[in-house]
């Protein structure tokens, strides 16, 4: 991992991860919606040791081709792609107004599928590298409290799984990252979430998984793998009565 494209570089969850990359002297292309925020992140990562930091201001839900051609032309031969953006709209809001439900799917699933499909071409030709996407433990099972977000992230997990199985033949690794709740802007109003993790811890796990040569699906913090495995075993008949 030397040259990394980050789609959603101003996501608060990955800021410690970006600093880790910078301290290791990586080259980064940061893509996000606000140039002002990108500038702040860029100067910070440069000061912390990143070899090179490029930025590109774009609405990732709207202009996949622009992003792709910029990356190909200005940041050629990148070896890693990290898709890290997402939104978590309130479930009640999504139930009350279908516009919000549709937007949640558009942002977290459809635009991500489009971008990953476009960027997969690069890796197909390159015949090596890593494509990583951040989904969520919420995508492992639909819960009454968060199933629109869960459906989007679950869909993204399935998509990444399929992409992994296709890209395997080209020697490209696809990494699915499933964090539990993390202290970020996204969860700022829900600080009493159970087992909420620190973004430093999550950054370490993701960094290790990116640098490893064989990890496919990671849960971070790690215990979520077993919690979700057990949760998936609960029969639907029982699960539907659980107030979670």
């Amino acid at each position: 991992m030397k040259r990394i494209v980050i789609l959603g570089a101003t996501s608060t969850m990955i800021q410690p991860l970006l600093r880790r990359m910078a301290a290791d002297g990586k080259e980064l292309l940061l893509v996000a919606r606000s140039q002002e925020r990108l500038d702040a992140v860029r100067s910070d990562l440069r000061a912390r040791g990143a070899a090179n930091v490029l930025t590109f201001e774009a609405d990732l839900t709207a202009s996949p081709d622009l992003v792709y051609s910029f990356a190909e032309q200005c940041f050629c031969d990148f070896d890693t792609l990290l898709l890290s953006y997402g939104t978590m709209l309130d479930q009640a809001l999504c139930q009350a107004d279908v516009e919000f439900a549709a937007r949640e799917l558009q942002t977290n699933l459809i635009s991500a599928v489009v971008l990953l499909t476009v960027f997969a071409r690069h890796f197909e030709q390159r015949r090596s590298g890593v494509i990583a996407g951040i989904t969520s433990v919420a995508g492992d099972r639909g819960r009454r409290s968060n199933y629109v977000y869960g459906a989007a992230k679950g869909g993204l997990s399935i998509f990444l799984q399929g992409l992994r199985n296709r890209m395997c033949q080209y020697g490209v690794r696809v990494l699915t990252i499933k964090p539990g709740p993390v202290v970020t802007a996204m969860t700022a109003d829900e600080s009493n979430m159970p087992m909420i993790a620190d973004s430093e811890k999550v950054a370490r796990d993701i960094y290790d998984a990116l640098e490893s040569s064989n990890s496919d699906v990671i849960y971070t913090p790690r215990q979520w793998r077993w919690i979700m495995a057990m949760l998936k075993l609960v029969p639907e008949r029982l699960f539907k009565r659980l107030p979670i």
């Binding site: 101003t10 702040a40 802007a185 700022a188 009493n192 811890k201």
Partner: protein, 452 residues
């Protein structure tokens, strides 16, 4: 890498049992307890404008790492802006040693970036877990006050976000009055978005440190006067439970060497039971500590971290003081002779309170730039005491009288209880800050210390 930024929020949680978010933001002494109405987390400077616009009059205060001991970082029953995520380095010039940073960055985080490049913070306090914004707002001092003055002396420029104007750039050349009000201004003049700091050149990460003992305060004064000439950093630990005021004197300077840092971090799992810090135990500790240092005085070359931040290796040592927390009492006595300090130490010694951290330092002559800066020429003494209710408060009131009688002042950043008379006599020009206070800002400390 950035251990510092992992600490805060959870560090601040005091009562997990009641689970309420507003209870999470306390100060380092955990006394007095505050309950905030609303805490907004700020991740980007562009969010400040809306947060300031939405706020009610006298409702806001920026909060960083919460390392002030008392209530100067609290705003009970009102709102906080949690700004510690504003921790980016915005610009750096490694030739001139200038950095421009967002004010939520901690000194520890910044040191990890600048030290390998041959620079050091111009002034550091006793913990690296403070933000640059907090360092400016309290105009902090360090072991090199006699050489470098306060932190504020090295601030070249700040951008201040206020509710009544667009962001204001303040430097010694432009809006210098607002800069002076903000340095030592206890966060009341607005939110510091970014700050440009002049760093200090070093030739290695090591400090050459010398440890000496003294038998009484007169000996301390002689040592201090001589060492301030020869060393960049000087500070002393005084045994408050001994008569006469014996202690240990530390003096050091940057060395042209690099050494590795043993970083063992200990976390205190819960607030200790209060009987742990009783007087006999502390007396025993003090005697052992003094004995240990007295047995092998001498010099060593050590990493800067254990030299400047010895207590940081116990991440939340404040919990050692138990559920009711601790109070720190830091005064400055302008006379500079041992008499006043001696009476204070005797008063503590006689009181029966268990005080095992007492730090003594001679401030230098360099004028602090802030309107309400605490450091001034003289001796400063800082005592950590377990908070044991009225008994502790009564002792501190007795100390107040001694400080007042000697024309001294108390340090707001450490204070949880001084009267407004005490504050106003220590800072006679306190009212000159008022015109610069942002109309939407206030703090628990300010309301208490300026009450009629």
């Amino acid at each position: 890498m950035t251990t510092a930024s992992t600490l805060p929020v959870r560090e601040i949680v005091s009562d997990r049992s009641n689970g309420s978010k507003i209870e999470r933001y306390q100060s380092w002494g955990r006394y007095p307890k505050a309950a905030h109405r609303n805490v907004s987390k700020i991740y980007w400077r562009d969010q400040l404008e809306e947060a300031l616009r939405k706020a009610e009059p006298e409702s806001l205060l920026a909060y960083g790492m919460g390392r002030s001991y008392g209530d100067s970082c609290l705003n009970s029953d009102r709102d906080l802006l949690d700004c510690k995520a504003l921790n980016r380095i915005l610009d750096c010039d490694w030739e001139a040693g200038r950095v421009c940073v967002e004010a939520g960055i901690t000194l520890g985080d910044l040191l990890e970036v600048i030290v390998p490049r041959g620079w050091f913070m111009p002034v550091v306090p006793g913990t690296k877990f403070v933000t640059v914004g907090g360092a400016i707002a309290n105009d902090i001092h360090g072991k090199n006050h006699h050489r470098a003055g306060t932190f504020g002396c090295h601030v070249k420029q700040i951008t201040l976000h206020r509710s009544d104007t667009s962001p204001v750039v303040c430097s010694p050349a432009t809006n210098s009055d607002l800069l002076q009000a903000t340095i030592g201004g206890l966060g009341l003049t607005g939110v510091i978005g970014s700050a440009e700091i002049q760093l200090k050149r070093i030739a290695g990460n090591a400090i050459e440190v010398e440890t000496l003992t003294f038998r009484d305060l007169n000996q301390f004064l002689d040592l201090s006067a001589a060492s301030d000439q020869s060393h960049e950093y000087t500070v002393a630990w005084v045994d408050c439970l001994s008569r006469g005021g014996r202690g240990i004197f530390f003096r050091g300077s940057h060395a042209e060497k690099n050494v590795s840092c043993r970083s063992t971090k200990i976390t205190v799992p819960f607030a200790f039971p209060e009987f742990g810090l009783n007087r006999p135990a502390v007396k025993l500790f003090n005697r052992a500590y003094f004995g240990l240092k007295a047995r092998k005085p001498g010099s060593a070359v050590i990493h800067y971290d254990p030299f400047f931040f010895p207590l940081d290796s116990i991440l939340n040592w404040n919990l050692l003081y138990g559920r009711r927390g601790l109070v720190q009492y830091q005064c400055v006595l302008p006379a500079g002779d041992a008499g006043a300090v001696k009476t204070i130490i005797e008063a503590v010694s006689k009181s029966g309170e268990a005080c095992f951290l007492a730090v003594l330092k001679a401030f230098g002559e360099i004028q602090s730039p802030g309107l309400l800066s605490f450091p001034r020429p003289g001796l400063t003494l800082a005592l950590d005491l377990p908070m044991r209710g009225n008994r502790t408060l009564a002792l501190l009131s007795r100390l107040d009288e001694l400080v007042l009688a000697n024309g001294g002042a108390l340090y707001p950043a450490k204070d949880a209880r001084m009267s407004s008379t005490m504050f106003k006599s220590g800072f006679p020009n306190w009212a000159s800050l008022v015109p610069y206070i942002d109309p939407k800002f206030s703090s628990s400390f300010w309301r208490r210390a300026t009450a009629e």
